[in-house]
């Protein structure tokens, strides 16, 4: 579903990403872990074109993203319709109700009628358990509710891929459990998902595959049992030891 080859992203002298290559099959949940500054958010943002990489190539579904493509906003917009993103701080639109947040993109970017998009919003908000809250404004919601609204908003574009940047950072363990449910259900429905997290137990529960990103490089990848119990790479071991203690 996603194939990245030697993706490199430079911020001046800083290497955000350094020759990152990986391949993700459809319906798989991939978890990105690594120390702060390792390049996890940068990689996620490259996957939906919010960040433009400097070298390498990327393929998502049938979309080929090239280095020179940055100027073509239309092409990027089409790519982004296939890739939903849930931001760490959710970035809900504060001037719109929850329902309007969800409806906006399908109506404008997918060309749905008002009736269709409203029905879609009802359906999605029901799935994330926010039916009661659809006329509320984002600031009237708790952190967990905001996050579920953000997920519903991203799903409204019917993407093939969902990206999450540290989705559990604002949640207690009960809410983390709920999120796990939602994401598992999506996976069962065939959604390809990429998750950045610092929450190792969350990662263990969810991941089909784990990528360890350190200093912009994928130092190790594999199934969670392997990475978390018997990491092969010295740097991964170091990271996990420091992280778990």
């Amino acid at each position: 579903m996603i194939t990245a080859e030697r993706l490199t992203k430079n911020y001046g002298k800083v290497r955000g990403l350094d020759q990152v290559s990986f391949s993700i099959p459809p319906a798989q949940v991939t978890v990105l872990i690594g120390p702060s500054g390792g390049g996890k958010s940068t990689l996620l943002r490259c996957l939906n074109g919010l960040e433009l990489f400097d070298e390498g190539s990327l393929r998502i579904g049938e979309y080929e993203v090239t280095v020179g493509q940055g100027r073509s906003q239309g092409g990027l917009a089409r790519l982004r319709r296939e890739v939903g993103m849930v931001f760490q701080s959710f970035n809900l639109f504060p001037h719109l109700t929850v329902e309007a947040n969800v409806e906006l993109a399908p109506r404008i970017a997918r060309g749905l009628t008002e009736a269709e998009s409203t029905a879609l919003a009802h359906d999605l908000l029901g799935k994330v358990g926010l039916s009661e809250r659809r006329d509320h404004y984002p600031h009237q919601l708790s952190g967990g509710q905001q996050q579920r609204a953000a997920i519903a908003r991203a799903l409204a574009m019917a993407p093939q891929v969902m990206l999450y940047d540290e989705p559990t950072s604002a949640l207690d363990s009960a809410l983390t459990g709920e999120l796990l449910q939602i994401m598992r259900r999506l996976a069962e429905d065939g959604m390809t998902q990429v998750v950045v997290t610092h929450d190792i137990s969350f990662a263990r529960e969810l991941a089909d595959e784990v990528l360890v990103l350190i200093e912009g490089r994928v130092v190790e990848s594999g199934p969670p049992e392997e990475i978390f119990t018997a990491p092969r790479d010295q740097r991964t071991r170091e990271f996990l030891r420091r992280y778990l203690s």
Partner: protein, 506 residues
């Protein structure tokens, strides 16, 4: 030590600037006020030596001062302010085509008339349908503000009157079709209308008006001296020679001279003395201020509202477009938008209005006064609104744009549906502020012949010599007009307050 000297020099310069020529004048000097902007043949800067003032009134005062054994000193003073300036003691005499009228006589004393003439109607050469005053009904007629001609036109009724500060503008507008006719004192028409091949005189001049020299009330002896001096100039033929030299000797003035010389007692100084000072008690003043001034001033309110609201609409739409170009367009357009802001913000509104109204017709673009006023205010305030919107847009967190893009919206859609709506709410307070400022700035458009609240205030204040009463009423009207908009803005601010993250930016 050195610094002290510098300060003293600066102080002297300041005093000179503030005091004007009159303060420096010696007691012997006969100081007289006039407005050299008024133009030929009365008072005008010498074309060859622009700092020198010439005109038939300069020659008159030269001769009169000689009669009185004093030296004449000219004091520049804006024409509408000649009488207040005289009363404040800025000069001894007011001499600048002041017609002797009853309401002026309530405030100051007048000498015997020194010149008489009628009002002259000017038309475009091609004009066939107008011959006399009565043909002017339903037509647009220009004149000078506060002049007798203006009152003549008002008395005639049914005429759309445009009151100008400057005769040149009036005759220009007549020539280019903005006006159907112009009515002004005959000497002005002689100098500004006659030489213009596009214009013609409509018959003989109308009515008779007489110019007198304004003297402070109560200075009877001085007034007597002035009258005696004028009569002597009439008798000796010197005054007639002055008028002939300026080409303005006419039958009316000849009759005036005969009357004054045959029957010198017909117009004794006492006859022209104003009502005793303070003849209006504070009760009468208050009754006038509260009675008939407000309704007259209110006639200016709709026009002020119309200009302000239309101007603000132009400013808001144009301002938003400029802000977006400035932030998101490619360099050439973005630079143009930046330049627009700097130019319109950095130059005086008054000059912009003059350029739009009097300048653009020269290159074939002609706006009606209302259109020019709305454009002037709108274009100027668009620069300020653009800056408001720009700062509002910049204050919206970057994550909002990113979230919209991540949903597959294009950049334009993200701005249109996510960023701009939030920015607009954020800038309601500064935009309201500018709207109130625009309200007050709309008073400036009286310079392009718009008759709105401030213009009417000026006319009433000058007519009734009541700058305080009429001024307070006019100021109050501005205040009252602004208040509803402030309330609407407060309501909108509450109603559309941005919930959550963005509110914290306030």
């Amino acid at each position: 030590m050195k610094r002290w000297i510098d300060l003293r020099a600066l102080w002297l310069i300041l005093l000179t600037l503030l005091g004007g020529v009159d303060r420096i004048a010696v007691a012997q000097d006969l100081t007289w006020g006039g407005d050299a902007e008024g133009g030929a043949p009365y008072l005008l800067p010498d074309p060859h030596r622009p700092r020198q003032i010439i005109g038939f009134e300069v020659d008159l005062m030269e001769a009169l001062a000689r009669q009185l054994g004093r030296r004449q000193v000219f004091v520049q003073n804006q024409w509408d302010g000649l009488i207040p300036g005289l009363l404040r003691g800025n000069y001894d005499l007011a001499v600048n085509g002041l017609e002797i009228t009853d309401d002026r006589r309530q405030r100051i004393a007048f000498s015997i008339p020194y010149y008489a003439c009628g009002e002259q109607l000017s038309l475009r050469r091609s004009e066939k349908s107008i011959e006399r005053l009565t043909d002017l009904h339903g037509r647009i007629v220009g004149t000078l503000k506060f002049s007798l001609a203006q009152r003549l036109l008002e008395d005639e009724g049914g005429i759309e009157i445009r009151a100008y500060e400057n005769q040149n503008n009036a005759y220009d507008d007549l020539a280019n079709g903005r006006l159907d006719a112009v009515l002004m004192d005959w000497p002005i028409a002689l100098y500004y209308s006659r030489p213009n091949p596009a214009l013609k005189f409509a018959g003989e001049s109308i009515g008779t008006l007489e110019y007198g020299i304004g003297v402070r009330p109560g200075e009877k002896q001085f007034l007597q001296q002035v009258d005696d001096g004028l009569r002597e100039l009439m008798r000796s033929g010197e005054l007639r020679r002055i008028y002939e030299r300026w080409g303005i000797w006419n039958a009316e003035t000849e009759r005036l001279f005969v009357r004054q010389l045959e029957n010198p007692t017909r117009a004794p100084a006492e006859q022209f003395l104003p009502l005793p000072a303070g003849s209006l008690g504070w009760r009468e003043r208050a009754a006038r201020t509260l009675g008939y001034l407000p309704p007259m001033l209110m006639q200016g309110v709709p026009m002020t509202l119309l200009i302000s609201i239309l101007g603000m609409l132009v400013a808001m739409f144009l301002g938003l477009a400029i802000a977006l170009l400035n932030l998101y367009a490619s360099p050439p357009l973005a630079i143009l938008a930046r330049l627009y802001v700097e130019i319109f913000r950095g130059t005086p509104l008054l000059i912009q209005l003059y350029l739009i109204f009097y300048g653009l017709p020269n290159i074939g673009i002609r706006f009606s006064p209302l259109m020019a006023a709305v454009m002037g205010l709108g274009l100027n305030y668009a620069a300020y609104e653009a800056e408001n919107y720009r700062s509002g847009i910049l204050a919206i967190p970057r994550g909002q744009m990113e979230a919209a893009l991540a949903l597959g919206l294009t950049r334009y859609q993200a701005l249109r549906y996510v960023v701009v709506p939030q920015a607009l709410r954020l800038v309601i307070p500064p935009v309201t502020n500018d709207f109130i400022a625009l309200f007050k700035d709309s008073s400036i458009v009286s310079v392009i012949t718009m008759v709105e609240l401030t213009k009417i205030y000026g006319q009433l204040a000058a007519t009734y010599f009541d700058y305080i009463g009429a001024g307070l009423v006019a100021a109050l009207l501005y205040l009252l007009m602004g208040l509803p908009f402030v309330r609407i803005a407060r309501w909108a601010e509450r109603r559309y307050r941005l919930p959550g993250a963005v509110t914290q930016l306030h």
